[in-house]
């Protein structure tokens, strides 16, 4: 079983020495990525719990906060991210079929979508800062004319949740760029694509978290 690997030449450069087969390496890598994604979800999970608790305690204040967000921008961003998930997914499919050029194009589109997302996010933040909608203790209730004295708490959640998500988008863009360069170099092909698949999974999770963030922050209330 394991002994005839070398005979078939399967034990080539992309199978590390401690794995017996490419399949073993692939399934290990895949499990590792899924486990890591689990920790990401748990990390965001805790902050969602915090959001749920305070939303339950101050529903009116959360409603006031949600009103000052621009749901149109959030909606555009949602579409952008969903589309980028699609391009990410097809890039893996292209690599599996050895269509590297198409894969590069798909990956580049994904990075571009991430950039668009961040630019829109930048304008949103910029607008909030302009209005004086700062998090927590920096929000001047009298100046903003807020109805609820602790509106800063809502923006505390807003900036932490979207900020942490934004950092993940930037990380994802970096990782996808790395995959892009390695694809151009020809590292990935129909025998070896686990790295791209892993990064893709990360990207999907980042999208998924946004899909929860968008309604919670922009629409609920």
């Amino acid at each position: 079983m394991s002994t005839d690997n070398t005979a078939h030449g399967a034990h080539t450069a992309h199978v590390a020495h401690h794995f017996k087969t490419a399949e073993q390496q692939y399934s290990s890598g895949k499990e590792g990525i899924w486990l890591f994604m689990l920790t990401e979800i748990l990390m965001f999970g805790a902050i969602f719990v915090g959001y749920a608790l305070y939303h339950n305690e101050y529903p009116a204040m959360f409603a006031e906060g949600a009103k000052s967000l621009d749901w149109k921008m959030g909606f555009v961003n949602t579409l952008v991210l969903i589309f980028s998930s699609f391009t990410m997914a097809i890039s893996i499919s292209f690599i599996q079929k050895n269509q590297q050029k198409k894969a590069v194009l798909a990956l580049a589109t994904t990075v571009l979508c991430g950039a668009i997302f961040m630019v829109i996010k930048y304008f949103e933040y910029q607008h909030k800062f302009h209005l004086g909608l700062f998090p927590g203790k920096f929000l001047d209730v009298a100046k903003v004319g807020a109805e609820h004295a602790n509106l800063g708490l809502y923006f505390g959640f807003y900036y932490v949740m979207t900020g942490l998500h934004g950092i993940h988008v930037l990380l994802g863009m970096g990782l996808i760029t790395w995959c892009l360069i390695r694809t151009i170099r020809g590292d990935f092909h129909s025998q070896y694509w686990i790295v791209v698949e892993g990064v893709g999974l990360f990207w999907h999770i980042v999208d998924l978290i946004w899909i929860f963030l968008f309604p919670l922050l922009y629409l609920v209330g």
Binding site: S28, T39, M43, G45, K137, A149, G152, L153, G156, F157
Partner: protein, 535 residues
């Protein structure tokens, strides 16, 4: 992957130079790197502990040594660093990162862990976090205690955010180690090594890894929120802005309670190995011990509320958490009784690792029973934040984890370095640590029952005698660890060459050379029986 340098016949001399160590992906070398760094932090944390005990030798009113640490502020800082260093840099990474890294692949017959480079990355994460934590020592020293409770941690003008980020980074390291172990156990077992043929140390590391994966991210976000709270004042933990400081405690203990089992489950795994090996007898109730590790891991997620019995949570919540907390005693007792049953009709030999195993059982029994006392709601209301709690968790964490760590070191020392240590000095170190430990911490149970609060740097004269005894005990522990250090260094320098299997153990790591070659096994092992086929 052929390297051009001359290869030695084992992992230590496989490649030469400090650079080959800093860039190694060999799990055995990474284990040794953890060994050196963790032991260094253990020394630092230990010196702080001695300082604390010295301060508490006499009340400050007495005209003598009671004023070692200039004032309460310095005492608080030293106490915080002692706690933070010991928890985040010694006991949590201790067994999994050192002995786990070294022996997990060896015990399941793998060439390495599943992700060797991530393994190295986790060491660098650990070092980066540790460096950041130590750096706070040179800025405004943190004085919150290792739990960073809000609102004090938000208000204090010290380096909370930096320390908390350091703990976050070390948490990353812990997650990566856990992830690596789970995948390794799932995917890289040797032919014939079924899950039910894995050594019990592996089962314990597996359960620990699950805890690391599930609990640490929540601590991560909690600490991140605390740091953001410090920088931006987001209000989540700040009552002035409508937040709730007790929410921090809920989040914090949702990780940190499972974390105490991250500390102790691997210790239990080592004890299982030691007891079966030195009794020359198949372990009693293999499956019960294996699954009780998972049982402890599962229950540990539902017990955090016992840290908040007096925080104003409802009585019903308190009662539920009280009940759930006691439930942890069940899988723990399963292990205890199985170890005792293993002795029955075994030929027990009292080598130093076995002495440590027995020491563990004795101390952990006391720690566990007092844990049940503290889990009892009305008793806890009385004992809350007294020295009784301090004594309890030192019995569990030090008496448990460090005893097992020492036992594990001596047990595996011949395999790790290919040399034997001096049995006599190893036994002397055990005697001093064991007696010193009890002299130090048993009086603290009495002090706690008398009402001495924890974390205070001064006390009324009524507590003086017991505190004196306790401080003297800390010196005995010091002597014990110095003997232990001497034994290790002496063994490294002058030890006789170790045979392949000095204890007559049956697990896989003893079926390869001492020290093991770079690839662990010259021939891939094929497993045909369980791990403890003594008779």
């Amino acid at each position: 992957m052929a390297k051009t340098t001359a290869h030695g016949d084992n992992y230590i001399n496989f490649e030469k130079g400090i650079w080959s160590w800093l860039t190694t992906v060999d799990h055995k070398r990474i284990g040794l790197m953890y060994f050196i760094t963790v032991m260094f932090f253990f020394l630092v944390g230990g010196i702080m502990a001695l300082l604390l005990r010295l301060e508490l030798f006499a009340p400050n009113a007495a005209p003598n040594v009671g004023q070692i640490l200039a004032n309460g502020d310095v005492y608080n800082q030293v106490m915080t660093y002692h706690g933070a260093i010991m928890v985040f840099m010694v006991i949590v990474p201790g067994i999994p990162a050192i002995l786990g890294n070294f022996f997990l692949p060896l015990q399941i017959g793998a060439k390495d862990v599943a992700f060797p480079r991530i393994n190295l990355l986790s060491w660098y994460c650990f070092m980066a976090g540790a460096a950041l934590a130590i750096a706070t020592f040179f800025t405004t020293k943190i004085d919150t205690g290792w739990t960073f409770y809000t609102p004090y941690s938000i208000r204090t003008g010290t380096a909370t955010a930096m320390m908390v980020l350091a703990a976050f980074i070390m948490g990353m390291s812990s997650i990566l180690t856990g992830l690596n172990f789970i995948v390794t156990v799932h995917k890289l077992r040797a032919p014939g090594m079924t899950m039910h043929r894995m050594p019990l140390f592996i089962w314990s590391l597996y359960a620990t890894a699950i805890l690391q994966m599930l609990a640490t991210p929540v601590l991560g976000i909690t600490l991140l929120l605390l740091a953001v709270e410090r920088f931006l004042g987001i209000g989540i933990f700040d009552p002035k802005l409508g937040g709730d400081p007790v929410l921090f405690q809920h989040f914090f203990w949702f990780y940190s309670h499972p974390a105490v089992y991250i500390m102790v489950i691997p210790a239990m795994g080592i004890i299982s190995e030691l007891i079966t090996t030195f009794s020359k007898k198949v372990i009693f109730g293999y499956t019960a011990i294996a699954y009780s590790s998972l049982g402890i891991a599962a229950v540990s997620f539902f017990v955090w509320g016992h840290h908040m019995f007096v925080s104003g949570q409802s009585e019903t919540t308190g009662i539920i958490f009280s009940f759930l907390t006691m439930l942890v005693g069940v899988p723990t007792a399963i292990k205890m009784f199985n170890w005792v049953a293993t002795f029955y009709k075994g030929s027990v030999s009292f080598q130093s690792p076995m002495l440590y195993a027995l020491g563990f059982m004795f101390l952990f029994a006391i720690g566990g029973v007092t844990g049940i006392m503290l889990a009892t709601l009305p008793i806890d209301v009385h004992f809350h934040d007294t020295y009784f709690v301090v004594a309890h968790f030192h019995y569990v964490m030090v008496g448990g984890t460090l005893m097992a760590l020492m036992g594990g070191y001596f047990y595996w020392f011949p395999k790790m370095f290919g040399k034997m240590y001096n049995e006599t000095t190893a036994r002397i170190s055990f005697v001093f640590i064991f007696i010193g430990f009890n002299v130090t911490f048993f009086p603290q149970f009495v002090l706690g029952a008398m009402g001495m609060p924890r974390r205070y740097f001064d006390y009324i004269p009524a507590y003086e005698n017991l505190n004196k005894i306790s401080t003297v005990g800390s010196w005995l522990i010091l002597i014990g660890f110095l003997f232990g250090l001497y034994t290790i260094v002496q063994g490294l320098l002058k030890g006789e060459k170790a045979p392949m299997n000095p204890w007559g153990s049956k697990t896989l790591e003893w079926q390869t050379a001492s020290p093991p070659p770079h690839d662990n096994f010259s021939v891939e092992p094929v497993v045909t029986a369980g791990p403890y086929e003594y008779r």
